[in-house]
Amino acid sequence: MKRDLISIEDLSLRKILEFLDLARRIEGMPLAERAHLLDGRLLGVLFFEPSTRTRLSFEAAMLRLGGRTIGFSEVASTSVAKGESLSDTIRTVEQYCDAIVIRHPREGAARLAAEVSRLPVINAGDGANQHPTQTLLDLYTLQHLFGRIDGLRIALVGDLKYSRTVHSLVHALAKFSGIEFVLVSPESLRLPEYVKAVPEGRLQARETTDLNEAIATCDAIYMTRIQRERFPDPLEYEKVKDSYLLDRAALRRAKPHLKVLHPLPRVNEIAPDVDATPHAAYFPQVGYGLIMRQAILASLLGGMS
Protein backbone atom coordinates (compact mmCIF):
# COMPACT_ATOMS: atom_id res chain seq x y z
CA MET A 1 0.00 0.00 0.00
CA LYS A 2 1.27 3.48 -0.81
CA ARG A 3 2.07 5.76 2.10
CA ASP A 4 1.25 9.43 2.52
CA LEU A 5 2.16 12.10 5.03
CA ILE A 6 -0.95 14.24 5.46
CA SER A 7 -1.45 15.02 9.14
CA ILE A 8 0.60 14.70 12.30
CA GLU A 9 -2.61 13.30 13.83
CA ASP A 10 -2.16 10.20 11.67
CA LEU A 11 1.25 9.40 13.17
CA SER A 12 1.81 7.19 16.20
CA LEU A 13 4.81 7.81 18.44
CA ARG A 14 6.44 4.76 16.84
CA LYS A 15 6.05 6.23 13.38
CA ILE A 16 7.47 9.58 14.52
CA LEU A 17 10.48 7.82 16.06
CA GLU A 18 11.02 5.96 12.79
CA PHE A 19 11.21 9.26 10.90
CA LEU A 20 13.64 10.67 13.48
CA ASP A 21 15.78 7.56 13.23
CA LEU A 22 15.77 7.65 9.45
CA ALA A 23 16.81 11.32 9.47
CA ARG A 24 19.72 10.47 11.77
CA ARG A 25 20.81 7.66 9.43
CA ILE A 26 20.64 9.93 6.40
CA GLU A 27 22.62 12.62 8.17
CA GLY A 28 25.31 10.08 9.05
CA MET A 29 25.48 8.66 5.55
CA PRO A 30 28.56 9.44 3.39
CA LEU A 31 27.67 12.24 0.95
CA ALA A 32 28.60 10.13 -2.07
CA GLU A 33 26.01 7.55 -1.05
CA ARG A 34 23.36 10.02 0.05
CA ALA A 35 23.56 11.86 -3.25
CA HIS A 36 22.24 8.80 -5.15
CA LEU A 37 19.48 7.57 -2.83
CA LEU A 38 16.70 8.71 -5.17
CA ASP A 39 18.50 8.61 -8.53
CA GLY A 40 16.07 8.71 -11.42
CA ARG A 41 13.04 9.59 -9.29
CA LEU A 42 10.86 12.57 -10.08
CA LEU A 43 8.95 14.60 -7.47
CA GLY A 44 5.93 16.74 -8.36
CA VAL A 45 6.03 19.93 -6.28
CA LEU A 46 2.57 21.50 -6.54
CA PHE A 47 2.25 24.82 -4.75
CA PHE A 48 -1.26 26.22 -5.18
CA GLU A 49 -0.17 29.19 -3.06
CA PRO A 50 3.33 30.65 -2.78
CA SER A 51 5.63 29.54 0.03
CA THR A 52 9.14 29.96 -1.28
CA ARG A 53 10.86 28.75 1.87
CA THR A 54 9.03 25.43 2.07
CA ARG A 55 9.26 24.85 -1.68
CA LEU A 56 13.02 25.45 -1.75
CA SER A 57 13.49 23.08 1.16
CA PHE A 58 11.62 20.25 -0.61
CA GLU A 59 13.35 20.88 -3.92
CA ALA A 60 16.80 20.98 -2.31
CA ALA A 61 16.02 17.80 -0.37
CA MET A 62 15.02 15.95 -3.53
CA LEU A 63 17.89 17.26 -5.69
CA ARG A 64 20.47 16.44 -3.03
CA LEU A 65 19.27 12.84 -2.95
CA GLY A 66 19.85 12.55 -6.69
CA GLY A 67 16.22 13.00 -7.68
CA ARG A 68 14.59 15.69 -9.77
CA THR A 69 11.53 17.90 -9.41
CA ILE A 70 8.83 19.43 -11.57
CA GLY A 71 5.97 21.65 -10.49
CA PHE A 72 4.58 25.13 -10.06
CA SER A 73 4.82 27.73 -7.33
CA GLU A 74 1.51 29.54 -7.85
CA VAL A 75 -1.61 28.83 -9.87
CA ALA A 76 -1.86 31.93 -12.07
CA SER A 77 -0.30 30.29 -15.15
CA THR A 78 -1.78 26.81 -14.70
CA SER A 79 -4.99 25.06 -15.72
CA VAL A 80 -6.17 25.56 -12.14
CA ALA A 81 -6.65 29.22 -12.99
CA LYS A 82 -9.01 28.06 -15.77
CA GLY A 83 -11.14 26.27 -13.18
CA GLU A 84 -9.69 22.76 -13.22
CA SER A 85 -10.62 20.71 -10.16
CA LEU A 86 -7.90 19.64 -7.73
CA SER A 87 -8.65 15.96 -8.46
CA ASP A 88 -8.07 16.50 -12.18
CA THR A 89 -4.79 18.35 -11.60
CA ILE A 90 -3.56 15.51 -9.36
CA ARG A 91 -4.62 12.77 -11.80
CA THR A 92 -2.77 14.60 -14.58
CA VAL A 93 0.46 15.32 -12.71
CA GLU A 94 0.65 11.80 -11.28
CA GLN A 95 1.18 10.50 -14.79
CA TYR A 96 4.56 12.27 -14.82
CA CYS A 97 6.14 11.64 -11.43
CA ASP A 98 6.76 9.25 -8.53
CA ALA A 99 5.48 11.28 -5.57
CA ILE A 100 3.63 14.54 -4.97
CA VAL A 101 4.23 17.38 -2.54
CA ILE A 102 1.22 19.67 -2.26
CA ARG A 103 0.68 23.07 -0.70
CA HIS A 104 -2.86 24.43 -0.93
CA PRO A 105 -4.83 27.28 0.68
CA ARG A 106 -7.86 25.06 1.44
CA GLU A 107 -8.02 22.80 4.48
CA GLY A 108 -8.23 19.12 3.54
CA ALA A 109 -6.75 19.56 0.05
CA ALA A 110 -3.79 17.26 0.75
CA ARG A 111 -6.12 14.57 2.11
CA LEU A 112 -8.18 14.78 -1.07
CA ALA A 113 -5.02 14.56 -3.20
CA ALA A 114 -3.95 11.43 -1.32
CA GLU A 115 -7.40 9.91 -1.85
CA VAL A 116 -7.43 10.42 -5.61
CA SER A 117 -3.76 9.63 -6.31
CA ARG A 118 -2.02 6.27 -6.53
CA LEU A 119 1.25 8.05 -5.60
CA PRO A 120 2.57 8.93 -2.15
CA VAL A 121 1.38 12.44 -1.23
CA ILE A 122 3.15 14.77 1.20
CA ASN A 123 1.26 17.68 2.74
CA ALA A 124 3.33 20.88 2.68
CA GLY A 125 0.54 22.90 4.29
CA ASP A 126 -3.24 22.88 3.78
CA GLY A 127 -4.75 26.22 4.81
CA ALA A 128 -4.89 26.58 8.56
CA ASN A 129 -4.94 22.84 9.08
CA GLN A 130 -1.68 20.85 8.93
CA HIS A 131 1.98 21.15 8.02
CA PRO A 132 3.36 17.82 9.27
CA THR A 133 6.89 18.11 7.82
CA GLN A 134 7.38 21.31 9.86
CA THR A 135 6.44 19.43 13.02
CA LEU A 136 8.76 16.53 12.23
CA LEU A 137 11.66 18.89 11.56
CA ASP A 138 10.96 20.73 14.83
CA LEU A 139 11.16 17.40 16.66
CA TYR A 140 14.34 16.44 14.83
CA THR A 141 15.89 19.78 15.80
CA LEU A 142 15.06 19.19 19.48
CA GLN A 143 16.39 15.64 19.29
CA HIS A 144 19.59 16.92 17.72
CA LEU A 145 20.13 19.76 20.18
CA PHE A 146 19.42 17.80 23.35
CA GLY A 147 20.00 14.18 22.38
CA ARG A 148 16.45 13.45 23.56
CA ILE A 149 12.92 14.84 23.51
CA ASP A 150 11.49 13.13 26.61
CA GLY A 151 11.57 15.25 29.74
CA LEU A 152 12.31 18.60 28.10
CA ARG A 153 10.84 21.81 29.46
CA ILE A 154 9.71 23.76 26.43
CA ALA A 155 8.23 27.25 26.18
CA LEU A 156 5.89 28.03 23.32
CA VAL A 157 5.73 31.77 22.85
CA GLY A 158 3.52 34.20 20.95
CA ASP A 159 0.33 33.48 19.06
CA LEU A 160 -0.71 30.18 20.58
CA LYS A 161 -4.34 30.60 19.55
CA TYR A 162 -4.06 30.59 15.77
CA SER A 163 -0.60 29.13 15.07
CA ARG A 164 -1.00 25.87 13.18
CA THR A 165 2.69 25.17 13.81
CA VAL A 166 2.21 25.40 17.56
CA HIS A 167 -0.94 23.24 17.60
CA SER A 168 0.73 20.42 15.66
CA LEU A 169 3.89 20.63 17.74
CA VAL A 170 1.89 20.41 20.98
CA HIS A 171 0.06 17.33 19.73
CA ALA A 172 3.30 15.65 18.62
CA LEU A 173 5.22 16.51 21.80
CA ALA A 174 2.35 15.22 23.94
CA LYS A 175 3.12 11.72 22.61
CA PHE A 176 6.56 11.86 24.29
CA SER A 177 6.95 11.42 28.04
CA GLY A 178 7.53 14.02 30.68
CA ILE A 179 7.34 17.11 28.48
CA GLU A 180 6.71 20.23 30.56
CA PHE A 181 5.09 23.01 28.57
CA VAL A 182 5.30 26.68 29.46
CA LEU A 183 2.70 28.49 27.37
CA VAL A 184 3.59 32.15 26.99
CA SER A 185 1.08 34.41 25.25
CA PRO A 186 -1.11 37.47 25.66
CA GLU A 187 -4.44 36.62 27.32
CA SER A 188 -6.27 36.94 24.02
CA LEU A 189 -3.98 34.50 22.18
CA ARG A 190 -3.87 31.62 24.65
CA LEU A 191 -3.71 28.00 23.50
CA PRO A 192 -7.31 26.87 22.87
CA GLU A 193 -8.82 24.25 25.17
CA TYR A 194 -9.43 21.83 22.29
CA VAL A 195 -5.70 21.80 21.55
CA LYS A 196 -4.88 21.17 25.21
CA ALA A 197 -7.22 18.17 25.24
CA VAL A 198 -4.72 15.79 23.61
CA PRO A 199 -5.59 12.09 23.21
CA GLU A 200 -2.93 11.28 25.82
CA GLY A 201 -4.88 13.21 28.49
CA ARG A 202 -4.13 16.63 29.89
CA LEU A 203 -0.93 18.50 29.10
CA GLN A 204 1.52 19.22 31.85
CA ALA A 205 1.41 22.93 31.16
CA ARG A 206 1.90 26.25 32.89
CA GLU A 207 0.32 29.30 31.31
CA THR A 208 1.84 32.72 31.72
CA THR A 209 2.02 36.08 30.02
CA ASP A 210 5.62 36.55 31.21
CA LEU A 211 8.36 35.60 28.77
CA ASN A 212 11.11 36.22 31.34
CA GLU A 213 9.86 33.44 33.54
CA ALA A 214 10.14 31.00 30.62
CA ILE A 215 13.63 32.19 29.75
CA ALA A 216 14.89 31.42 33.23
CA THR A 217 13.49 27.91 33.53
CA CYS A 218 13.26 26.26 30.10
CA ASP A 219 15.49 24.07 27.96
CA ALA A 220 14.02 25.34 24.71
CA ILE A 221 11.97 28.33 23.61
CA TYR A 222 9.85 28.03 20.49
CA MET A 223 9.07 31.55 19.26
CA THR A 224 6.24 32.45 16.89
CA ARG A 225 5.21 35.69 15.32
CA ILE A 226 2.31 37.70 16.71
CA GLN A 227 0.41 39.06 13.75
CA ARG A 228 -1.18 42.47 13.88
CA GLU A 229 -4.23 41.15 11.98
CA ARG A 230 -5.13 38.92 14.94
CA PHE A 231 -6.05 41.94 17.05
CA PRO A 232 -9.40 43.64 16.44
CA ASP A 233 -8.06 46.64 18.35
CA PRO A 234 -4.70 47.99 17.07
CA LEU A 235 -4.02 49.53 20.49
CA GLU A 236 -4.22 46.08 22.03
CA TYR A 237 -1.53 44.91 19.58
CA GLU A 238 0.73 47.86 20.40
CA LYS A 239 0.43 46.98 24.08
CA VAL A 240 1.57 43.36 23.77
CA LYS A 241 3.87 43.26 20.77
CA ASP A 242 7.04 44.17 22.66
CA SER A 243 6.39 41.84 25.59
CA TYR A 244 7.25 38.93 23.32
CA LEU A 245 10.44 40.29 21.89
CA LEU A 246 13.48 38.20 22.62
CA ASP A 247 16.84 39.98 22.70
CA ARG A 248 20.31 39.32 24.04
CA ALA A 249 19.65 41.24 27.25
CA ALA A 250 16.56 39.15 28.04
CA LEU A 251 18.61 35.98 27.56
CA ARG A 252 21.07 36.90 30.34
CA ARG A 253 18.99 34.88 32.81
CA ALA A 254 18.82 31.79 30.60
CA LYS A 255 20.33 28.41 31.40
CA PRO A 256 23.56 28.00 29.41
CA HIS A 257 22.09 25.23 27.27
CA LEU A 258 18.82 27.07 26.41
CA LYS A 259 18.05 26.92 22.68
CA VAL A 260 15.77 29.24 20.76
CA LEU A 261 13.77 27.84 17.84
CA HIS A 262 11.54 29.62 15.33
CA PRO A 263 9.68 28.32 12.26
CA LEU A 264 10.81 31.45 10.34
CA PRO A 265 10.43 33.93 8.79
CA ARG A 266 10.96 36.08 11.86
CA VAL A 267 10.02 39.73 11.79
CA ASN A 268 10.96 41.42 15.04
CA GLU A 269 10.20 38.82 17.71
CA ILE A 270 13.86 37.78 17.86
CA ALA A 271 16.37 40.65 17.83
CA PRO A 272 19.36 40.23 15.48
CA ASP A 273 21.71 40.45 18.48
CA VAL A 274 20.53 36.98 19.53
CA ASP A 275 21.92 35.43 16.34
CA ALA A 276 25.50 35.38 17.56
CA THR A 277 24.67 33.83 20.95
CA PRO A 278 24.99 30.07 21.57
CA HIS A 279 21.22 30.07 22.19
CA ALA A 280 20.26 30.75 18.58
CA ALA A 281 19.15 27.51 16.90
CA TYR A 282 16.74 28.79 14.26
CA PHE A 283 19.12 28.68 11.32
CA PRO A 284 20.50 25.21 12.14
CA GLN A 285 16.78 24.28 12.44
CA VAL A 286 16.43 25.04 8.71
CA GLY A 287 19.31 22.66 8.01
CA TYR A 288 17.75 19.89 10.12
CA GLY A 289 14.59 20.55 8.15
CA LEU A 290 16.37 19.68 4.93
CA ILE A 291 17.57 16.38 6.44
CA MET A 292 14.10 15.55 7.78
CA ARG A 293 12.51 16.23 4.38
CA GLN A 294 15.12 13.97 2.80
CA ALA A 295 14.16 11.27 5.29
CA ILE A 296 10.48 11.71 4.45
CA LEU A 297 11.13 11.55 0.71
CA ALA A 298 13.42 8.52 1.06
CA SER A 299 10.86 6.77 3.21
CA LEU A 300 7.83 7.44 1.00
CA LEU A 301 9.65 6.92 -2.31
CA GLY A 302 11.19 3.69 -1.11
CA GLY A 303 14.83 4.82 -1.15
CA MET A 304 15.16 3.63 2.45
CA SER A 305 12.98 1.76 4.88
Binding site: L86, G108, R111, G127, N129, Q130
Partner: protein
Protein backbone atom coordinates in the same frame (compact mmCIF):
# COMPACT_ATOMS: atom_id res chain seq x y z
CA UNK B 1 -54.71 -2.22 26.65
CA UNK B 2 -51.72 -0.04 27.59
CA UNK B 3 -51.75 3.68 26.69
CA UNK B 4 -48.81 3.01 24.38
CA UNK B 5 -50.84 0.48 22.34
CA UNK B 6 -53.83 2.80 22.16
CA UNK B 7 -51.63 5.41 20.54
CA UNK B 8 -50.46 3.00 17.88
CA UNK B 9 -54.03 2.08 17.01
CA UNK B 10 -54.99 5.50 15.68
CA UNK B 11 -54.95 5.23 12.70
CA UNK B 12 -53.72 1.68 12.44
CA UNK B 13 -51.43 0.77 9.56
CA UNK B 14 -51.12 -2.72 8.16
CA UNK B 15 -47.58 -2.51 6.81
CA UNK B 16 -44.97 0.20 7.07
CA UNK B 17 -43.11 2.10 9.75
CA UNK B 18 -43.84 4.08 12.86
CA UNK B 19 -41.30 6.62 14.06
CA UNK B 20 -42.07 6.89 17.73
CA UNK B 21 -40.83 8.86 20.73
CA UNK B 22 -40.27 12.02 18.72
CA UNK B 23 -39.97 14.91 21.17
CA UNK B 24 -43.31 16.79 21.20
CA UNK B 25 -43.33 19.54 18.60
CA UNK B 26 -40.44 18.06 16.57
CA UNK B 27 -42.66 15.88 14.38
CA UNK B 28 -43.29 18.73 11.97
CA UNK B 29 -39.58 19.27 11.52
CA UNK B 30 -39.14 15.61 10.73
CA UNK B 31 -41.99 15.72 8.21
CA UNK B 32 -40.22 18.64 6.60
CA UNK B 33 -37.02 16.60 6.38
CA UNK B 34 -38.92 13.74 4.75
CA UNK B 35 -40.22 16.06 2.07
CA UNK B 36 -36.64 16.58 1.01
CA UNK B 37 -36.20 12.87 0.28
CA UNK B 38 -37.71 12.10 -3.14
CA UNK B 39 -38.42 8.50 -2.05
CA UNK B 40 -41.30 9.80 0.08
CA UNK B 41 -42.96 11.74 -2.76
CA UNK B 42 -45.87 9.30 -3.16
CA UNK B 43 -45.90 7.76 0.28
CA UNK B 44 -48.79 8.10 2.74
CA UNK B 45 -47.53 9.72 5.92
CA UNK B 46 -49.56 10.56 9.01
CA UNK B 47 -48.27 12.91 11.69
CA UNK B 48 -49.56 12.55 15.23
CA UNK B 49 -48.78 15.27 17.69
CA UNK B 50 -48.80 15.62 21.46
CA UNK B 51 -49.59 12.05 22.42
CA UNK B 52 -48.99 11.26 26.05
CA UNK B 53 -45.88 9.27 26.73
CA UNK B 54 -44.58 7.66 29.91
CA UNK B 55 -41.00 8.39 28.87
CA UNK B 56 -41.34 11.89 27.39
CA UNK B 57 -44.55 13.28 28.92
CA UNK B 58 -45.69 14.34 25.46
CA UNK B 59 -44.46 12.99 22.15
CA UNK B 60 -45.06 13.11 18.41
CA UNK B 61 -45.14 10.15 16.07
CA UNK B 62 -45.14 9.52 12.34
CA UNK B 63 -46.70 6.64 10.46
CA UNK B 64 -45.27 5.86 7.08
CA UNK B 65 -46.84 3.46 4.61
CA UNK B 66 -43.69 2.41 2.79
CA UNK B 67 -41.87 -0.88 2.35
CA UNK B 68 -38.43 0.54 3.09
CA UNK B 69 -36.91 3.66 4.63
CA UNK B 70 -34.06 5.13 2.55
CA UNK B 71 -30.69 4.80 4.29
CA UNK B 72 -29.87 8.49 3.75
CA UNK B 73 -33.05 9.37 5.60
CA UNK B 74 -32.14 7.02 8.46
CA UNK B 75 -28.71 8.68 8.70
CA UNK B 76 -30.35 12.09 8.86
CA UNK B 77 -32.78 10.85 11.47
CA UNK B 78 -30.07 9.30 13.67
CA UNK B 79 -28.11 12.53 13.51
CA UNK B 80 -31.03 14.90 14.12
CA UNK B 81 -33.05 12.98 16.66
CA UNK B 82 -31.07 10.28 18.43
CA UNK B 83 -33.40 8.48 20.85
CA UNK B 84 -36.41 8.16 18.52
CA UNK B 85 -37.65 4.64 17.89
CA UNK B 86 -38.22 3.22 14.41
CA UNK B 87 -40.75 0.36 14.39
CA UNK B 88 -41.39 -1.85 11.39
CA UNK B 89 -45.09 -2.84 11.19
CA UNK B 90 -46.18 -6.10 9.55
CA UNK B 91 -49.83 -7.23 9.66
CA UNK B 92 -50.66 -4.48 12.14
CA UNK B 93 -47.95 -5.70 14.54
CA UNK B 94 -44.55 -4.37 15.53
CA UNK B 95 -42.16 -6.77 13.76
CA UNK B 96 -38.93 -4.96 14.54
CA UNK B 97 -37.89 -2.04 16.71
CA UNK B 98 -34.70 0.03 16.63
CA UNK B 99 -33.74 2.99 18.83
CA UNK B 100 -31.76 5.46 16.72
CA UNK B 101 -28.35 6.35 18.12
CA UNK B 102 -25.91 9.12 17.20
CA UNK B 103 -23.94 7.51 14.34
CA UNK B 104 -20.16 6.88 14.48
CA UNK B 105 -19.77 7.86 10.88
CA UNK B 106 -21.74 10.26 8.70
CA UNK B 107 -20.97 9.80 5.06
CA UNK B 108 -21.96 11.94 2.06
CA UNK B 109 -25.05 13.61 3.56
CA UNK B 110 -23.76 16.76 5.23
CA UNK B 111 -21.92 19.88 4.21
CA UNK B 112 -18.82 20.90 6.19
CA UNK B 113 -19.52 24.12 8.16
CA UNK B 114 -15.91 25.27 7.56
CA UNK B 115 -16.14 27.56 4.50
CA UNK B 116 -12.45 26.95 3.71
CA UNK B 117 -12.80 23.16 3.73
CA UNK B 118 -11.86 21.62 0.37
CA UNK B 119 -15.15 19.68 0.40
CA UNK B 120 -16.98 22.99 -0.16
CA UNK B 121 -14.92 23.82 -3.24
CA UNK B 122 -14.23 20.60 -5.13
CA UNK B 123 -17.00 19.75 -7.59
CA UNK B 124 -18.99 16.64 -6.74
CA UNK B 125 -17.07 15.92 -3.57
CA UNK B 126 -18.82 14.38 -0.57
CA UNK B 127 -17.97 14.69 3.11
CA UNK B 128 -17.19 12.23 5.88
CA UNK B 129 -17.49 13.01 9.58
CA UNK B 130 -16.38 10.72 12.41
CA UNK B 131 -17.83 10.87 15.90
CA UNK B 132 -14.88 11.69 18.18
CA UNK B 133 -16.77 12.13 21.45
CA UNK B 134 -20.15 10.52 22.03
CA UNK B 135 -20.94 12.40 25.23
CA UNK B 136 -20.75 15.84 23.62
CA UNK B 137 -21.77 14.56 20.17
CA UNK B 138 -18.61 16.02 18.63
CA UNK B 139 -17.67 15.08 15.08
CA UNK B 140 -14.45 15.58 13.10
CA UNK B 141 -14.36 16.39 9.40
CA UNK B 142 -12.21 13.84 7.63
CA UNK B 143 -10.70 16.52 5.40
CA UNK B 144 -10.23 19.83 7.22
CA UNK B 145 -9.95 17.95 10.57
CA UNK B 146 -12.06 20.57 12.37
CA UNK B 147 -14.37 19.48 15.17
CA UNK B 148 -18.08 20.28 15.11
CA UNK B 149 -20.96 19.60 17.45
CA UNK B 150 -23.93 17.68 16.11
CA UNK B 151 -25.94 20.91 16.29
CA UNK B 152 -23.43 22.80 14.13
CA UNK B 153 -23.41 19.98 11.59
CA UNK B 154 -27.16 19.59 11.28
CA UNK B 155 -27.58 23.35 10.96
CA UNK B 156 -26.17 22.92 7.45
CA UNK B 157 -29.18 20.73 6.60
CA UNK B 158 -31.27 23.88 6.77
CA UNK B 159 -34.53 22.41 8.06
Amino acid sequence: MSPEEKVLLIPKIENGFVIDHIPAGAGGRLLHLMQRHREFDNVLITLGQHYSSRRLGRKDLLKIQANELPSRFLQHLALLMPGVTVKRIRDFKVAEKVVMETPDLVHEILRCPNPNCITNHERGMGTTFHLVERETKTFRCNHCERHFTQTALTATLNI
